[in-house]
Amino acid sequence: MSAHSTSSSLKTYVAIWITLLVGTALTVYASGLDLGRFNAGVALVIATIKATLVALFFMHIKGTSEKLTKLVVISALFFLLILLGLAMSDYATRAWT
């Protein structure tokens, strides 16, 4: 794994940390607004941005030279998408009353 010996990576960590805290405050604030059907969407978009920041910078996916890591991450997301996508397309097309 690559060495993170420069102080610039420390600054990045603190910046990401502040962004994550701001994102948390933002999602709590946004949940109090009446956005109709978009409330859930906004909450999930903020959560996904936060999760992506953690994965890229804290888990060092960004900057890794290991291609296997990226392959595993992408395939995990791919199969999660299949799980959710197929299950939801089943339930969404049933006639619930």
């Binding site: 990576s9 940390w17 405050a25 709590v28 109090g32 804290f58 888990m59 395939s75 799980l83 339930y91």
Partner: protein, 199 residues
């Protein structure tokens, strides 16, 4: 380690999938049940976990640059934050027991459906919400307990000076696990606490 985390994605993914299906099926009842959760405690716990992720990443950095005291300090801080998370979670669970919101024979639920003040939520459907709440947060808390065990071991090894810029893979692997558990909570928080909070 990444392959293990990929299996964990599917592990939690199944639960998220079950949650999504029931949320869409019993939309109003889930909204009413979610409204009874304490957003302040949930948000505090989110902040606690985010802070612990920072201390973890600082610990990994300290291990890679050979700063032993910084490593020990950050591992200890992570442990404190992890225990704080579990403590707050315990307070929340206690409140659920007191209000009979734990699924089972003594389950009671009398709340209005958000947006329909004349309509009571179906207690059976609300019970499904709380069952999912306890399974998802419980499994997450179990992962936290395992993480705390890993970090106690890392702390002992770091104290003995076992980690050097050449050998620090255990710190990095433990860190990856901790961040993953953090990511799970980042999704659990809005899905369980924040749906249907708006007036």
């Amino acid at each position: 380690m990444w392959a293990f985390l990929a299996t964990e994605v599917m592990f939690f993914g199944g639960l998220f999938c079950a949650y999504l299906i029931y949320r869409l099926m019993y939309f109003g009842d889930f909204g009413a049940a979610s409204k009874t959760l304490d957003v302040k405690l949930g948000a505090t716990n989110t902040a606690v976990l985010i802070c612990s992720s920072l201390t973890v990443v600082l610990a990994v950095w300290a291990a890679q640059t050979g700063r032993r005291m910084m490593l020990v300090g950050n591992l200890a801080l992570t442990l404190i934050l992890g225990l704080a998370f579990l403590g707050i979670k315990g307070i929340e669970y206690k409140e659920k027991f007191e209000r009979h919101h734990v699924p089972g024979a003594s389950f009671q639920f009398q709340e209005k459906i958000p947006g329909h003040p004349d309509q009571n939520a179906n207690p059976q459907h609300a019970q499904i919400f709380f069952a999912l709440y306890f399974v998802m947060t419980g499994l997450h808390a179990l992962h936290m307990i395992v993480g705390i065990g890993i970090f106690v071991w890392l702390l002992l090894m770091a104290w003995k000076g076992r980690f050097t810029p050449e050998y620090n893979t255990p710190v990095e692997m433990g860190g990856l696990y901790w961040h993953f558990v953090d990511i799970i909570w980042i999704y659990l928080f809005p899905l369980l606490y924040l749906i249907d909070r708006h007036p």
